[in-house]
Symmetry: none
Subunit: 140 residues, 3 copies
């Protein structure tokens, strides 16, 4: 399988909590971080997900926000992953930022050029990748 | 209203399943494919959606992923629509890919230039448009 | 067309900046806030958007994050809109939060129940609605 999502992160399912239509699935990444995904109950069943399942979190770069100094903030995003800027690739409107997490996992974010400037992003900066759980797909 | 979403796909509601706050709505497209959308119960009521309603699936190009050889993969995305690459328009960081589905419907995806390269996308390639149900809006 | 997006915010185009494939459009809302949208150049042309155009920002509730104490944080999200919690509607997995902006505009966010708890959201709390520009559709 080849998929356009820039972020395909291997891990193991830690928890599955089903609601009425949607389910919350927690994945422990190989690098040590935890990622939360919201998918439909139908998808949990279709993928046969349960505690201990091997699975991948699939995250499109355009779904990843970047934050600086977010330690004192409270964000509804279930995934706030700390790392540092490993690569910056400017574009006309959008730029690509690669963040290397503490456990070694790279996360690619697509944010506007204006945001790169506003956050004054430089290589090596401590930043967080911020991802809403509803933007995380899972694959097995 | 005219909207910026590149994908506005006509169809008929096949099913509406309400949860506590969210509902899952299945739409049969004119081209034969099925698209699943997750919207709030309030929106189902506001649009008066029920089985048999005419409705459109509205999908922003930046919410569409592209996959190759995903037949054996299991993905939580409820919408994995097969087609072939009909157009490629490169950008500085993001590129636009038009996929023509088997039933003739075109789907536009906005993915990174690096992904176009990584997937080695060429005109005529068999690919899938992958769309999470939570990214599908509906209109009547 | 009536759409399922819970947030359809009226405004006037202040600026359109085109890149290679994508454009950045700034909209001044009736309530006084500014909203930035990233859409394709094709959509700008198709909708005939230019400075002074009347347009709506269309934002699905599942694309809205909620933040508390984000004043000292730097976020790549181009839209960080201050307001206060006007309504909380719990669900099994996802809950709905209505935020009333300073100018009176209501914004609906769909976030997880766990996030409502983690942020200890109560009616009247000062919060921000956080929306990535790539998640803002426009309509005329």
């Amino acid at each position: 399988m080849k998929i356009s999502a820039r972020n395909v992160l291997g891990g193991t399912v830690k928890n599955v909590t089903k609601g009425a239509v949607n389910a919350e699935v927690t994945l422990a990444l190989q690098g040590g971080e935890t990622v939360v995904s919201i998918i439909t109950n139908h998808s949990v069943d279709s993928l046969g997900l349960h505690e201990g399942s091997a699975a991948h979190a699939i995250i499109k770069a355009s779904e990843v926000m970047v934050g600086k100094n977010v330690e004192n903030a409270k964000l509804s995003a279930r995934n706030v992953l700390s790392g540092e800027v490993a690569r910056l690739e400017p574009g006309a409107v959008n730029s690509e930022v690669e963040i290397k997490l503490a456990g070694g996992t790279p996360i690619v974010a697509s944010i506007t050029k204006a945001s790169v400037r506003a956050l004054d992003l430089q290589l090596g900066n401590k930043v967080s990748a911020i991802i809403k759980a509803s933007h995380v797909l899972l694959g097995v």
